[in-house]
């Protein structure tokens, strides 16, 4: 899978586009947003529906899909979809 720079992800790290696509797909389902509206920069500030309850659903949907469990500290770092993809990727590559 190709990796691309997403300058907006908070630590400036590169995001795996395959993982990001999966994250956007799931976020699209959970948040009821069109996939074209979503990008690595999407956050609760840009998506109307994205409140703390939806954040929990999103986390659970990702945990279920990827068979992982996030630590509370992981969840604190999830400010944008790009962040989520980064956290997820670090979980998956362990």
């Amino acid at each position: 899978m190709a990796t691309v720079d997403y300058p907006s992800s908070r630590n400036g790290a590169r995001v795996n586009t395959g993982v990001l696509e999966d994250v956007c797909g799931i976020a699209s389902d959970v948040l009821g947003a069109g996939t074209q509206e979503l990008s690595a920069q999407s956050s609760p500030d840009t998506i109307a529906n994205w409140d703390s309850v939806q954040q929990l659903y999103l986390v659970l949907a990702l945990e279920e899909r990827f068979n992982v469990q996030f630590e509370p500290s992981d969840i604190d770092r999830m400010r944008t979809l790009g962040d989520i993809a980064n956290v997820l990727e670090s979980k998956l590559s362990v």
């Binding site: 959970v30 659903y57 659970l60």
Partner: protein
Amino acid sequence: MHLSRAWKIMFPRHEVIMQRAAIDGLLRSGDTDSAFALLVEAWRTAPTVSTAAFLIPRFEQLRTSGRFLQSRIALLRSFTVEPLIPIFRAAMFASGIDARVHVGDFNTYSIEILESESTLYRYEPNVVILASLASDVAPELWSGTLKMSANYHDSVNRVVGHFADLIAAFRKNSDAYLIIHNLEQPLHASGGLLDGRHACGQRDAIAQINVQLEQIAREQHGVYILDYDQLVARYGHEAWRDERKWITARMPIAAGNLLHVVDEWMRFIHPMTGSIAKVIALDLDNTLWGGVVGEDGRDGLQLGDGYPGAAFTSLQIALLALRARGILLAICSKNNEAEALDAIRHHSGMILRLDHFAARRINWDDKAINIVAIAQELNVGVDSIAFLDDNPVEREHIRHALPQVRVIDLPDNALFYARAVMDDPSFERLTLSDEDRLRSTYYAAERARNELHQTVHTKEDFYRSLEQEALIEPLEAATLPRIAQLTQKTNQFNVTTHRYAEPEIAALAANPKYRIFSIRVKDRFADNGLVGVAITHDTERKCEIDTFLLSCRVIGRTVETALLSHIARESKKRGMESLTGAFIRTAKNAPAEMLYRNHGFALTQENEGGSRWELDLLRQNVEWPPWITRARETVHA
């Protein structure tokens, strides 16, 4: 991966995207039947948090189509149940139930149940679920904080007494169904091994509460205990909980287990709403036993102790247990009836006996037709039939042809067949005579209305849905062994049963009067490989079909029409004026008997041993089936 869902397909992302686009397209076009079928399919293949969130607003768009039972469910709880709700609603929608779900506040369930004017009763629920946790109901019991010498008698009495009060008050204020979660055992008793060394220790106390809850529920009408402790144990205590979510969000259940809770709720919802199967229609070959009786013979079947026969024995035991619940067993199978009955009567491994089956249709007809006939014979609606078949093509066919039939998905591995049957909520019963006692003038009226929406699709729709692609080729060195093998082992769809060894096939191929064709078939599920053979022999102006056979896995899908069409066309091109063929009867080849009649051949001769047929090529042809795509043309020079 959850064991019970281990066979579910996790589609690649692009297929999910395409499926979702198709759903939205159907909703826009107003084709509500197809949209509903695809929504159900999406849930069936990937029942996840994410899918649920996508599906619910789309199911809601179908509300006006009048296909859903309405139900009002109240969920009283001591922990965060919110993430369960979308999964629950999606599962119910997929089962044809449009449920509004009211969620009570944290730990207010006692007041809501005890006070007759509470929001709970004003909501007028049909079903109430009370989901509390041992850690909330009896904190001292859950944490084991009493002194080692103390016992938990007081805790047991207090908890049981409280539940008894709640149940009594509930029955006084509502006639809804009530489902109560029992208490889960902790991972470890705080006293370790010592816990069991004195009466009414921690684990003993929780077990006693659960036993007494069952007793109280048995004495009340419409009150049931959900065995939460056993549910947790089924999937494993270790994997069940997520302590992180418990501490941060009061959500004790790990993401991968949310569906299991909902599945358990659905076991109650199905019988409560009358969406139950009264009959299970069973395939025989590779379902009730391993192997194909028409090919392997009775003694070649896998059934009995040891691997792999034990898998089928387990399924038969599970089916016998369903029968004890009052579910009728029926056979719906493509076999020669005499052989199948012989195996049922005389195979030493059979657990099920012939008199266990309430009806049977053992023939080569379309299974949808047979299911309708079974429903008529047993005097039940087609929507009361469940269908069990190892063959995904048959399952897909029934889903299309009879969408109201409950088609049970079987995993590839037969060891899990029994589990798949026991997991299915449509076989659950709340009492043995429940159908009569459904509080159900309500639901019965709803059902009658829904039946107006049931549609039966045509065979052609089914053929088209298979997306078959056929490639017909002359003999090649690479296919010679497979062709010889098929002539030697195909018994059922085989008009002449001429057996040829490899050198004999090679000799025929070298003879300019003979032609050898093979057909390969792909469909949307799989590449079936080389599944049919025809050998023809030219004499003067006639072309004689010496051999025409199909592997049993493609019978009933018009593959024979494609092959016959090709042969007829090629013969005509060579200047042949007629195409002739014989049907030579054997004990096993009944499936091929109608081949020539069904394709417009005229009968020229007939006796007990068989029949001869002729097609006038100057006036007639055999049409290629329009639903099969012709892969690369091959001219037989």
